[in-house]
Structures are given as structure tokens and as C-alpha cells.
Symmetry: C2
Subunit: 365 residues, 2 copies
């Protein structure tokens, strides 16, 4: 983050995002969910998925790629399962309802799972996993995404960054929350580097010759043209386990596309062959596991806490004085952002000014 | 594999493994399952978990670390869930019964999950995921394992290699099957290198100073003494996503230990403080997802097949002429091993000779 970043209070920024979604046709309650997901991202330090993406959603709604009026059609339902067609609606409120449904099913039966098709970007996967954690459950959240990642031995960006999120309660003051792309990095992180004018670390991205690429601007412009591809977790080839990241991404694709019978891989590009924008038709999969059906919640909480504390107490590598567990950095960041506000770079403020102008919303900074 | 490897027919080797398990007290049907899991590993080319580990199980049963008589006590049960205490029984038949139970629950309800505590090594995680795939379901299989992997920023081998396996049916002649440790590699792979007298690739293992280690013999001897640690998928530090492999490993630890209220991390070392062997008390977690509760199975099969074929058709990196999908190499290997037999190195044959001698079983080669 550069020195020129301005800190904006979370509530003011949330109100701005909420108003933006409402003015482009999202109903009040759905706009509140979408704004809350963006705020949760900035609070957790995942700036790649925070208010920095507000203009992206705004543009897509204006272009008709995302439908602002949320449709949530349950096309099939069983005691613990449901399949939902979202009819290209805004992803965040769709995902919120889907995870709520999975949680409601898990409460009596122990498990609940909802698969969604024809949705759009839902923001951070962890948001929905955390909904289950707050209900004393384990939550898992998966989504496919626009093509940007090469399979092992390939150079074409055909897979999405296909994240896996897993959250659960602990006996500490914040939940365990793992939330990560199955690629080494994701487009949002490279967008953050672009806003900061920084190069991309060697090892994250390859070009069509299979060589490592570091030119951030060229990469962002080139991925939709299939000139660059992100690498799966584990990197190129198999020696360092790149086939594992690739396999996990495929698993997420199957859960997100095959279970709800939705679109997959190239069909998620958001573009017709001639470059005309069209809906991304993403799919999601949500799973809620009711802890109380297995063990008393207090017992589960203390086992998880015990695992986390034992990990943190392990011997540190030279030069390192702390081992973190998943969700811990986000928790520390949340405290800091709540106190000091969300940092907005000059580039991001400049990007949002015309949006505010067009919609007649006062700028929050 | 060296040139001196002898090829032994699968059925002869299976009978040998079956007889070995039976002679040390495992009941016939359970011995058959354990032998089948070892054979499935060798057939799929996962030699690290095949008959090369028969002596390990033999030793552990003789030392009392593993109880050959299988106990499968369901301590808690709901419509879709169960918790099982395995009382330090042999892991393969325990896991087989647990996944069978998860599948039986998923059939009427759509989902089924079974968490197991106080078990032992269950072989390849994928074996149990594949059981669900054969029933027209998605299967997931997780287990924790002996401490051997360092958390991000740590050097102590505190986490297990904690694999994730995911299998499902497709419209092709073999199922999709992802089965991988959440570390870059696992101990079994290094054991294979040791049997072949080869060094360990730089990047898989660190020493207590955080430096990369490649001396295979020293590594295998040093891991139980906590002198070396495997690295999580993504490698050391965070830049290439090492925290993601570490986070996935922690997720598997929570599913395998906190849901069944079992042992975790250091407690799985299999040794008292003074080095006396004791049961590992591993935990497992199995999930079955009935495809038919979401979409017609034939539709699911063809969507998955479509995903896999689109991946394989992506542009190849220079020097590569093929992109594989998870389970494909195993399928090719299976055909080859069925036709030619399981390759056994001289070191492995030498290791098994005294076992056969002690038990009075004829050698299968």
C-alpha cells in the first residue's frame, strides 16, 4: 500500500457500496449483503476482493452481464440437498441464500449441501463458510471462476482460480477460516499489484511459451486474450506438486459445475467468440456440517483450539518469530481496519469517482 | 524402478499380502480388504503405499501398535452422520466400513459423513473415495498422519501429510480420482527413493535451519527425530502459496481429529517421550455425496467427462504432448501392472523374505 492511500471508515464505505448496488437495481437487502461481502474482504485484508471490485460489479450490471434483481430458483430439493438456478443474478446474495439453506438443512439432519448454477462472482469464498461457523457448524464454500489458470503441462488459461474455503468455530475469539484459490495467486492480487504499479513475482504466471512472466499490466491485459496463464498451487510441472493444485482446481470445477449441471471452463469466459460480453454463468457449491451431530460443540471448539495453539507453538524458521493459523492474520487485520479505516489507493479512488458521479452518491472520502 | 525389479502377478502378490495379514491375526474378510488396498496402490502406481508397506504393518501389529482384530464402535449416530472409535485397529478395514456407512446414509438422504478416531494408517486415501464413485456418488476421504510436515514459517515436523482424496464417476472408462498429500510429497515417496538409492529433490524437505535437504537416508532417519520436515504444498514461506498447503493440511487435521474428538499433531507420533512405540491413534473423515439427489447421474457423468476432455485438449507447454486429468495416469498404470505384474525392487524383496519365513508363507516370486 502506498503512502497516498486514504483511510475511509468501514461504515461510510459500506454505505457507499450499498448505495451503489441499490442505485443499479439491487434490492435493499441484497445490496446490503453484497456490500457486506466487499467490506468483509477489506476488513480481512483481502483487498483484491473488496471495494476495489465495486466498479467491476457496477460495470457488469450496467452491461447486462449480471442481473441486479436476484432470482433464486430451487430446481431440485431433497432432505439435505438442493440445486439452485440463479439466472445470472448478482452472486453475493445468491450465495448468501444458498449457504443459509445448507445450514438450515444441516440443523436437523447433520449435513446440508446446495449447488448453484448460472450465478456470477460471489466475492470471497470465506464469507459463506464463516456463516456456518457462526452457527456452530463447519462451512465449506467452492466456486468456479473465469478461465485464467493453466492445467499441468498446459499453457492455456482454461481453469478458474477455483477457491476452497473452510471455516469452523474454535474456543478462541475468532474462527478458523481457510480461504484460498487453488492457483498460487489470483487475478485480484495481480489487480492490486497493478494499482500499486508493481511487477508480478516470478513463478505465478506463464506465457504461451511456458516462460515465467512478471509484467503486471501485460499479464492482466493478456489473460482474457489467453496470452498468459496463472499457475496452479505447486507451480509448473509435477516436481513441486503443481498437479495437486491442478487436481484441486478440477475438483472445485466438478462440484461447482457438474453437481448443479452448469457451465464450465471456457464457457465461463464472459465473452462471446467475437468479444461481446455475456453472463459468466458461474457455479458454486456450499456444504454445512453440523458439529453437534458429531461431538458436543464445546469439545469440538477446544480440540480445534488445541490444534491451532500447538501449530503456533512449533519451532520457528530462522528469521521468523511467529507461526499463524488460517484466519489469524485476517482477524488482526480486521481490528486494524476497524480502528483506522479501509486504505484506498489514489488509483482506486479515481476509479470510483465517476461511478459516484453517475449515480449521484456522495464520495465517502 | 531399477532394472533388477522383478514383476510379480497381482493375484499372487495379493494372496501373499492377504496371508500375511491373516497370519498376524487379522480376520479373513478384513485381511482381504487390507491386501486389496495395498494392491490398489501398486496398481495405481502409488508404490509408496503398496506392498512396499506390508512389512511396516506387519511390524506394527507385532509390536502391538496396531490391533489386528478390528473393532468398529459407532459411538454416535444421526441420520447422515456417525462417529466411530476404532480402538487402534488396522486402518484399512476400519476405513472400508466407515465409507460403506457414509454411502449407506447418503443413499436415502443425499449426504453421509463418518468421522473415525483411534484408528491407524489406512493406506491410500483414494481407495475409499473410489468406493463412493463406484456407487454413483462423489466420495471424499481425509486422514491425519504421523507428524512430518512443517507449518509455514516453522521448521518442526508437526503436521501429517494429511491427504485429500476426491473421486466421482464420469462417462469415461475410469473414474476421476484426485488423491494427494497436502504436502509437496510424502514420506512414502522418500521411502521409494531410499529403496532406489536416489537423492530427494531440493524443495521437498527442510532441516532445522530452514535449509533445503536432499540426503534421502538422513531425511528418513531424521524426520522421527524432528531434524527434518516436509514442506507443505506451495513450499517454504508464503510467496508461492506455502500457506495454502499448510492451511489445507490444518483443514484435514480438524476434520480428522476435531469432528471425532480424537488425537492430533504430536500425539500421533506413535512414540512415547522415551521412544517406546505406541498406537498412532489416527483419525479419518469420509463424505459421500449422492449425485442423483442433485442431477441425473448420466447428466453428471457427461458434464464431468466434458470438463476432463476440455482440460486435456488445452494447448500444451513446449516439450509436452499430453495433459492428464486426475486418475488418468493411475488408469494407464493399472492396465500395465495387470498385464505385467507389480515391480518389486531387490531391496523390497529382501525386506519381505524374513516376514514370509517367520510366517511360513511361500514367497510369491
Amino acid at each position: 500500500m502506498t503512502e497516498e492511500a486514504v483511510r475511509v471508515p468501514v461504515d461510510k464505505l459500506r454505505a457507499f457500496a450499498h448505495a451503489t448496488f441499490e442505485r443499479v437495481g439491487v434490492a435493499g437487502e441484497d445490496a446490503a449483503v453484497a456490500a457486506d461481502v466487499l467490506m468483509a474482504s477489506d476488513l480481512r485484508g483481502i483487498e483484491s476482493h473488496g471495494v476495489g471490485r465495486l466498479k467491476m460489479y457496477y460495470d457488469w450490471i450496467k452491461k447486462g452481464i449480471i442481473s441486479p434483481q436476484v432470482r433464486f430458483e430451487v430446481v431440485r430439493e431433497g432432505p439435505t440437498t438442493a440445486v439452485v438456478d440463479a439466472h445470472t443474478s448478482l452472486g453475493h446474495p445468491v450465495a448468501h441464500r444458498a449457504m443459509s439453506l445448507a445450514i438450515a438443512k444441516a440443523r436437523p439432519y447433520g449435513l446440508g449441501a446446495v449447488a448453484v448454477r448460472n450465478s456470477s462472482h460471489y466475492g470471497i469464498a470465506g464469507y459463506y463458510a464463516l456463516m456456518a461457523a457462526r452457527e456452530g457448524m463447519i462451512g465449506l464454500s467452492f466456486t468456479n471462476a473465469r478461465p485464467s489458470v493453466a492445467p499441468t503441462f498446459g499453457v492455456e488459461p482454461i481453469l478458474g482460480t477455483n477457491p476452497i474455503a473452510f471455516a469452523c468455530p474454535t474456543d478462541e475469539e475468532f474462527p478458523f477460516c481457510f480461504d484460498a484459490a487453488t492457483s498460487i495467486t489470483q487475478r485480484g492480487k495481480i489487480e492490486v499489484l497493478a494499482r500499486e504499479g508493481r511487477p508480478t513475482p516470478a513463478g505465478w504466471v506463464i506465457d504461451r511459451r511456458g516462460d515465467l512472466a512478471t509484467d503486471t499490466t501485460a499479464i492482466l491485459q493478456g489473460i482474457p486474450k489467453e496470452l498468459y496463464a496463472l499457475l496452479p498451487l505447486g507451480g509448473a510441472g509435477e516436481e513441486m506438486g503443481g498437479h495437486k493444485g491442478y487436481g484441486l482446481a478440477t475438483m472445485v470445477e466438478i462440484l461447482s459445475a457438474a453437481l448443479p449441471s452448469g457451465a464450465f471452463l471456457w464457457a465461463l469466459s464472459g465473452m462471446e467468440k467475437d468479444g461481446t460480453p455475456r453472463p459468466h454463468r458461474l457455479g458454486h457449491f456450499f456444504l454445512a456440517i453440523s458439529v453437534e451431530h458429531f461431538v458436543p460443540l464445546s469439545e469440538f471448539r477446544s480440540t480445534v483450539g488445541g490444534i491451532l495453539r500447538e501449530l503456533r507453538a512449533a519451532a520457528k524458521a530462522p528469521g521468523q518469530n511467529r507461526i499463524y493459523t488460517a484466519g489469524e492474520k485476517a482477524h488482526l487485520r480486521e481490528k486494524e481496519v476497524l480502528a483506522r479505516g479501509v486504505p484506498l489507493t489514489p488509483a482506486l479512488r479515481k476509479e470510483l469517482e465517476p461511478v459516484a458521479g453517475e449515480l449521484g452518491i456522495p464520495l465517502p472520502w
